[in-house]
Symmetry: C2
DNA sequence: CATTAGCACTCTAAAACATGGAGTGCTAAT
DNA sequence: ATTAGCACTCCATGTTTTAGAGTGCTAATG
């Protein structure tokens, strides 16, 4: 057995051990493996291999005469295999339920996201999380203004995705309704159909160019608009229900629960993680200390991106113990992301 | 000792016992009371009185040779005294901090409420909750419309309190921008300065009267408006951070934490409780099973209303174990509500 | 006669101890 | 190379012991 590679049999035994551990949630002895799998090998042989796997860092032992427990390195291998080679087929009744739950929601993206997080929680018994598309990626459909008082105007942005953002703007000068209408028309003409990111670069550079020339009113319009889109990049992290979660032995200690809540409460932590992966497609898994955040070091997170009809991407995921049931969770997350993408693609 | 009344000394001993229990969080023996308070009485006497108090239902005993524990009836007496007669002076540095925290927030009521819930959590180490004024009580300042597409219009309501609500309305007929402007003007003229409740009764009855007569456009306006204000009565219940909470021995068991979270997650439960008291002023305390909701039966909630410059009332409160530190929490909640009212009253 | 010292009694939480079994690592046999 | 056999380790569980906190009662006391 070389250091760099595991032979086929070792892999199988490692797999069997990890799977058993996830199922039984307690250290796995050699005999358990022989009983649950028919490798045609005796416990003694399994034991020898297991000793090697410990040597190589894939397994560990709570104490001398105990069974074996997967290490993060072990989970990594297990999960990678799960992601690449093998997918558990999803239960059709479950698929139906998922479909129903998400389709029963009115076409409001935030409600949809919220329901998704709840659905993920409900079906996984871990903690589901979901965030809507990042503001910078949403496509602007319409801009409007509602007079608030003489010096203030509420700017309303509507995105193609159906996201509505409000921002109260204090004006330097008094504007008539006529002016406001003109500004509205101008901005809608220039801006509609672009993403906020595009607008920021394209239009605002244009602004500095046009600064000297042109209509005084347009200058004003651009100034107002610039203020309107500089909201703080708020993250709406929705987390599903958590009270169903800590039945699981993994979450059974107070300190664990505490950590979990710290992690969940500092939503920007989660947003940061979910954000980091927003670039790549497909399901990704971060195991234990791979999450650089301290509060998350005992947990794993399974995430995937989804897309809407335009180009915006959001992220959904499940937070669970490092020994979570990846075999079921990964397809669940994958399929949920796909379903969400589907729904958001429909006219 | 009559059944109906406690004599002065019994009250003192009961008070001392409850206070000690809250401080020490474990059953209180007669000797503890004599040591912590100088009643000039021996343990034996205290014991006799305590036996009476058990008889009368103010105290209980986990087992024969244990100290005494307050019952809900006991807490009730204790809390009522606390509410009526006696207020712990608040630490001035704390007052300063509270003031700073709430004043550092921009004048956005929802942000303010959120911060309040967090502040309550932080300073009490229990769970702070806060809800903004009920929709029906807010005073309308302005209404506006932003065209979404040919058949849809986004209705924007701005309240005096600074609350903004959006509702997407599907139109039966196509409206020109001119029509929309007219409708906007008409509605603003009719409606501004009224509470939603007033509007609902007054204007909508007027609507049915004017139905037959009058401008066709006004009829349309009223129809649109009616749809606009019939949003679901959503409760934004903000809960502060919880991860700091279960250091406390009271929250030390898994099942307790579980209950707590069930209670918190079903926010409408809390909203219901907070709602019920929205009528009366001042601080109120609900102890254990006084909260009719099952999930709350092991907890107490200390609540108070706050008012904004107009007539709207919101509620804030703290959820903690029945044996929570009422002596500190009650003034905290009272003062926070006052501060909030103050801030919301400023121009 | 209310109060209290004194004391036997109760119950528990914590410590100390005992036991069974699950699981290992090694060795010798296949 | 595999595995049966076995001595050994360690923990989880259950049992026993112990110390002490607290009570309720009784008899003594001002």
């Amino acid at each position: 057995m070389t250091m760099s590679e595991l032979d086929e049999r070792s892999k199988k035994i490692l797999w069997a051990t990890i799977k058993s551990y996830i199922d039984l949630k307690s250290p796995i002895g050699s005999e358990v493996v022989t009983k649950r799998f028919s490798f045609g090998l005796s416990p003694a042989t399994i034991r020898n291999t297991m000793a090697d796997l410990i040597e190589l860092g894939y397994l560990s032992q709570p104490h001398t005469s105990a069974g074996r427990v997967p290490t993060e390195k072990g989970y990594r291998l297990y999960v990678d295999a799960l992601l690449k080679e093998y997918t558990l087929p999803l239960d059709p009744t479950f698929l139906q339920q998922l479909f129903n739950r998400l389709h029963s929601i009115e076409k409001n993206i935030n409600r949809l996201i919220e329901e998704t997080s709840k659905t993920l929680s409900a079906f996984s018994h871990y903690v589901g999380v979901a965030i809507p598309p990042q503001p910078k990626e949403i496509t602007l459909k319409r801009i409007g203004f509602v007079k608030h008082s003489d010096s203030k105007v509420l700017c309303v942005l509507i995105s193609e995705e159906g996201i509505v953002k409000n921002k109260l703007i204090t004006l330097a000068e008094v504007l008539t309704q006529r002016d406001l209408n003109k500004i509205t028309n101008y901005l809608n003409h220039e801006i509609t159909g672009l993403t906020l990111n595009e607008i920021k670069t394209k239009i605002l550079s244009q602004m500095s160019r046009e600064k000297t020339i042109c209509d005084e009113l347009i200058a004003k319009a651009l100034r107002i608009f610039k203020e309107a889109i500089t909201w703080l990049p708020e993250y709406n992290v929705y987390t599903g229900e958590i009270s169903g979660t800590y039945n699981l032995p993994d979450f059974a200690t107070i300190s664990q629960i505490k950590k979990l809540f710290k992690a969940i409460e500092y939503k920007h932590f989660i947003a940061k993680i979910l954000d980091k992966i927003a670039e790549s497609d497909g399901v990704q898994v971060f195991i234990g200390s791979e999450n650089t955040i301290y509060e998350m070091e005992d947990f794993s997170i399974v995430v995937s991106t989804y897309k809407d009809r335009y180009i915006a991407r959001g992220t959904i995921g499940i937070i669970g113990p490092t020994g979570m049931d990846y075999e079921h969770v990964i397809p669940l997350v994958r399929h949920t992301a796909e379903t969400l993408t589907e729904i958001l693609s429909e006219g």
